[in-house]
Amino acid sequence: MGVTCVAQVPVAEGKSVQQTVELLTRKLELLGAEKQGTFCVDCETYHTAASTISSQGQTGKLMYVMHNSEYPLSCFGLFENGPCLIADANFDILMVKLKGFFQNAKANKIESRGTRYQYCDFLVKVGTVTMGPSARGISVEVEYCPCVVANDCWNLLMEFMQSFMGNHTPGIPSVFGTKHDSTYSPGDTMVQYMELFNKIRKQQQVPVAGIR
């Protein structure tokens, strides 16, 4: 598990989501990256049920249950600013049992699918973020496998991202700030994805017809 950075690439002017993804993948292939299959990251939202809110006097919390094809036997459960739980794949079934406490907001299911590339020690995943039938944006995840300490290799990661993303290189992710030389874990990647999905959800409440 290496240090990972998840970023959003805005759609190019006058082009569709599909075309922008193609531009990115072509740049990657020019660099010398090899295609290595596909990936999928998805996220489901759960509201705390009304009964629990009234008894505890707290505002409802949103819980996100996420899956990542990179870790096929795991399931991640996270709160917005809270802890991240890395659980077995059976966690989904457990959530069904907890229907009384957490209710699934099915309309909010969001996922990112795309191709996985490998370049030397880097793993790059370029995916289209879709909510329901419509494509909402583009996510790029870059992982540098050998390094496990987040702040050590940020400059290295940034240099690599600049080589194929150009001006759209993101700033340092917020999770890096809290790490302080502790080992990077997959939960941190999922937190980054969650933040990305939330941002995309707020961006476009109405899908623009031209994007499709």
Binding site: D121, P146, C147, V148, D152, L156, D181, T183
Partner: protein
């Protein structure tokens, strides 16, 4: 042509003149026999015919003797080919006229030229290689067999306790580097050096000499980039050599290894970038401990 047989001692002009003289001699001898074959010419009296025949015969014989004398004179001028021509028996091969099917002589010449060149280059190479001695024992080259058993290097036979002490001292020297010692097979020590959260290095030792190193990443087994760092580490253990003081060697090797703690943070000193072909600067200079890309170092 017998070019190999000729040498500067031969007078080439006299040689060609001698060949012409041989031709002249041949023609005059032919004339003698022609004269004999033709017999007497048709003349009026028998006496006249006999006289004419004898005169012609005598004249042709004279010309033969003249040519022979000329040839002998010229052959003395031509001179002998020098006795010490270098080919000896192989020179006789050059006289073989069948050149197309068995080009033995030309192949032989090429083989000799090639082996001479090879010997010359090998001499140059051994001179250059001896300047950078790669032998790590205290024995000197060329010491006679009689003397060698007496001068056993004492640094190869060290008590394991001493090795343990040296390693422990080095372990305490560097805070971010931890060294674990174990002896899984016999007396050779095997060290597992953990460098912060960056690298793990396995060092196999033979008493206090470093024999072999393998560098691995912190979390997984083998990386392509650490294939490079393993090579660099092997270069380093060959570079730091002092047969008489092996603990200094181990200390300097560990100091060099410790510079890798900033493997992902330090940019290359030469090109200023972090990545070159997807690799961070994996080379550390032996004296200054600066980071360079493998392709950027001098």
């Amino acid at each position: 042509m017998a070019e190999g047989v000729l040498s500067p001692g031969v007078n080439l002009e006299a040689f060609s003149q001698a060949i012409a003289a041989i031709q002249a001699l041949r023609s005059s001898v032919t004339r003698v026999f022609d004269c004999l074959k033709d017999g007497m010419r048709n003349k009026e009296t028998l006496e006249g015919r006999e006289k004419g025949f004898v005169a012609a015969f005598q004249e042709s014989l004279h010309s033969v003797s003249r040519d022979l004398g000329e040839l002998e004179r010229l052959s003395n001028l031509v001179g002998k080919p020098s006795e010490n021509h270098p080919l000896h028996n192989s020179g006789l091969l050059s006289l073989d006229p069948v050149q197309d099917k068995t080009p033995l002589y030309s192949q032989l010449l090429q083989a000799y030229k090639w082996s001479n060149k090879l010997q010359y280059h090998a001499g140059l190479a051994s001179g250059l290689l001896n300047q950078q001695s790669l032998k790590r024992s205290a024995n000197q080259m060329g010491v006679s067999a009689k003397r060698r058993p007496k001068a056993q290097p004492t640094t190869l036979v060290l008590p394991p306790q001493y090795v343990d002490d040296v390693i422990n001292r080095i372990d305490r020297m560097f805070p971010e580097m931890s060294i674990q010692l174990s002896r899984p097979n016999g007396t050779s020590a095997m060290l597992l050096v953990t460098l912060g959260k960056v690298l793990k290095v396995i060092v196999v030792m033979r008493s206090l000499f470093i024999d072999r190193t393998i560098v691995k990443g912190y979390s997984e087994n083998v990386y392509t980039e650490d294939g490079k760092v393993t090579d660099h580490a092997t270069t380093a253990l060959l570079h730091y050599q002092l047969p008489q003081m092996p603990d200094v060697v181990v200390r300097s090797f560990m100091t060099w290894l410790r510079s890798y703690i900033k493997l992902f943070q330090a940019p290359c000193q030469r090109c200023g970038k972090f990545l070159q072909d997807g690799l961070p600067p994996t080379w550390r200079d032996f004296r200054t401990l600066e980071a360079f890309h493998d392709t950027c170092r001098q």
